[in-house]
């Protein structure tokens, strides 16, 4: 090996160790880097080449596993079953865990190909190996965590393991406004709002450039990785670490952050998907039950109304009978309306989509509902998107949704007050509509439940209307939400995807 001076020089410069041995494993030579390597790894007694030459290669290994592995490798090569054997082995220096890759190859005589010796080459693969393991572990952990809260905690744990960070925060982009909001943070002091405003420029930098941004703090560093999916920007992940990083470590850490962010983004997306599917399944199950019950209710309803009508005709002009039969029939009517909406909810009609402007659905509705407004002395203040939105809509089903929220707003608004209706097309390609009414706010404990089926606080309400609205809007790929405070009144927001 040492016959060609240039090759030898190159070899000596490489950051790896090389030994050659005779067929029995006695070390015959080492290259120049061995000396530095041995010193750096706390084996000063082996540093001088003369101290290892002639030793058995097995004695140079600290652990028994490696010794056995070396023996097996030599046997495999000798027997001709393998020309090259490699394996990874841990070799802990006093201050850190390290991983090496060992590769054994044969030195064969040029004429008869008999094994004359072996080359043992070792390279330190610590950073790659560690990050691969971390990523593997993180991948497994994240694929298990479907619940979002658990997912965030798991991300925290994995990032902590990978980077030894002191703080971590995850911010996700709001669907509607695209603003970044902290969803999870650990190790950071102060308010979420303060954290958001401090980190926002860094987040935007990371997202704009699609890379991990490193920024300095009074204490330590912050690494921010963008989280993107095929759908677009999901959010960002920032880790704060006070562990000093050498430039090469930092580079490896940046790569690790980028991979973790990608895995996290995929996991969050999957969690959302699972949640949507579960929600959908639940609604379908409810729908099925609702349909069955609704049909069965129609027979007794028919029985009740028929008997009441017969009674009315038989008795003739009797005010008391007349009044009470009227009551029975009105109640039957109410039950029947409930049955009808249950059936609509349980077996939703397929959307018949056509390109249209949802605001023109409102035009028609407001025209039709003028009597309702007049009766209560309500005014409508309307600001509409200009130019109008182009959406894929089922105008008939949307009209049902709009009527529902409109009637709710009118019912809740104090007589003589103003109802605010506003629509706009957002730059994210969304038609956003808001209807706001004054009056008594919806209690905070009720608010999250208003779209639940069979949940109603109105006397005589069925709890189907808004659940059906939500279903129709979501079938359109849109969202419906509600906010209510004593100061700002109640606002229902509906969004639909719009063509830009």
């Amino acid at each position: 090996m040492a016959e060609v001076p240039f090759e030898r020089r190159v070899l000596d410069a490489l950051p790896l160790t090389i030994w050659t041995t005779d067929p029995d494993g006695r070390i015959t030579s080492t290259h120049g880097s061995w000396n530095r390597f041995a010193l750096e790894n706390g084996a000063a007694e082996l540093a001088r080449p003369g101290n290892v030459i002639g030793q058995l290669v097995f004695d140079a290994f600290a652990d028994r596993g490696s010794r056995e592995q070396a023996e097996r490798a030599m046997q495999l090569i000798r027997s001709g079953r393998s020309e090259r054997v490699s394996w990874e082995f841990p070799c802990d220096a006093p201050w850190e865990s390290r991983v090496f890759l060992m590769q054994v190859t044969a030195i064969r005589a040029p004429d008869d190909h008999v094994v004359r010796g072996f080359v043992f080459a070792t390279v330190d693969i610590t950073p790659n190996h560690a990050s691969r393991e971390v990523l593997l572990d993180a991948g497994i952990a994240l694929s298990r965590a479907i619940d979002l809260e658990r997912l965030y905690a798991e991300v925290g744990l994995q990032v902590q393991r990978a980077i030894r960070c002191d703080g971590l925060c995850l911010a996700l982009a709001d669907d509607e406004t695209a603003a970044l909001r902290v969803q999870y943070s650990t190790g950071y002091q102060g308010t979420t709002r303060a954290l958001e405003s401090r980190l926002m420029p860094i987040w935007l930098d990371a997202l704009a450039n699609g890379r991990v941004v490193v920024s300095g703090l009074d204490q330590g560093l912050e690494l921010t990785a963008p989280m993107t999916t095929t759908e677009g920007v999901l959010g960002v992940m920032t880790a704060w670490t006070t562990n000093a990083h050498s430039p090469s470590d930092l580079e490896a850490t940046q790569r690790l952050m980028a991979s973790l962010a990608a895995q996290t983004a995929a996991a969050i997306e999957r969690a959302w998907l699972v949640r949507r599917v579960e929600q959908k399944r639940r609604l379908e199950a409810i729908g099925e039950v609702a349909t069955g019950v609704a049909h069965e209710l129609r027979n007794p309803l028919f029985g009740i109304s028929s008997a009441a009508q017969l009674l009315q005709f038989r008795v003739g002009q009797d005010a008391v009978v007349e009044r009470n039969v009227g009551r029975i029939l009105r109640e039957v009517d109410r039950l029947n309306r409930m049955v009808t909406s249950l059936l609509e909810y349980g077996r939703p009609a397929a959307l018949r989509l056509a390109e249209g402007d949802p605001d023109s659905v409102w035009d028609e509705l407001l025209e039709d509902q003028r009597p309702l407004l007049d009766a209560r002395g309500l005014l409508v203040h309307r600001v509409r998107a200009l130019p109008g939105a182009q959406c894929q809509i089922d105008a008939e089903q949307l009209a049902q949704v709009f009527l529902n929220v409109f009637v709710n707003a009118c019912d809740a608004a104090p007589a003589g007050s103003t109802i605010y209706i506003q629509s706009q097309v957002l730059t994210t390609g969304t038609w956003r509509f808001r209807i706001t009414n004054g009056g008594v706010a919806i209690p905070p404990e009720v608010l999250p439940r208003v779209f639940e089926i069979f949940f109603s606080t109105k006397s005589g309400g069925t709890g189907i209307g808004l659940a059906l609205c939500q279903r129709i809007v979501e079938d359109h790929g849109g969202t419906i939400g509600i906010e209510s405070t004593p100061e700002d009144g109640t606002t229902v927001t509906i969004t639909l995807p719009a063509l830009l």
């Binding site: 049909h295 129609r298 027979n299 028919f302 029985g303 109304s305 009508q309 017969l310 005709f313």
Partner: protein, 130 residues
Amino acid sequence: MSKSVLIVEDEENIRDTLVELFDVPTNLTTQAATLDEALAALKADGFDLIVTDLRLGGKRDGGLQVMAASGLLSPDATVIVLTAYPDEDNRFASLRLGATHFLEKPVDLATIAGLAAQAGVQTAMDASKT
């Protein structure tokens, strides 16, 4: 001239109400609670008006069998179908089998009485008015 009416309905309360609706001196009303009873009645007599439920007991297509039989045995009868399970398939099948009207429960008795009157059949509602 008296009219013959067949009421086919598995639910007793509803059947009784319908029978009462048609209980006027000019009608001969027969009632059936099951498909077998209905088929037996159809074999025994011709009818001017048949009011039938679509589902009979466990038989989803009981009403359709009643219609098929009445098409053969009382081809001129007016057939009113009442159902709590209206769907397009049932409506289509019923109309093909000769049903004249396909009504969704709950329906106003006045509507049934109106359709009966079109077929020249009187009801208690007409009687109470006069």
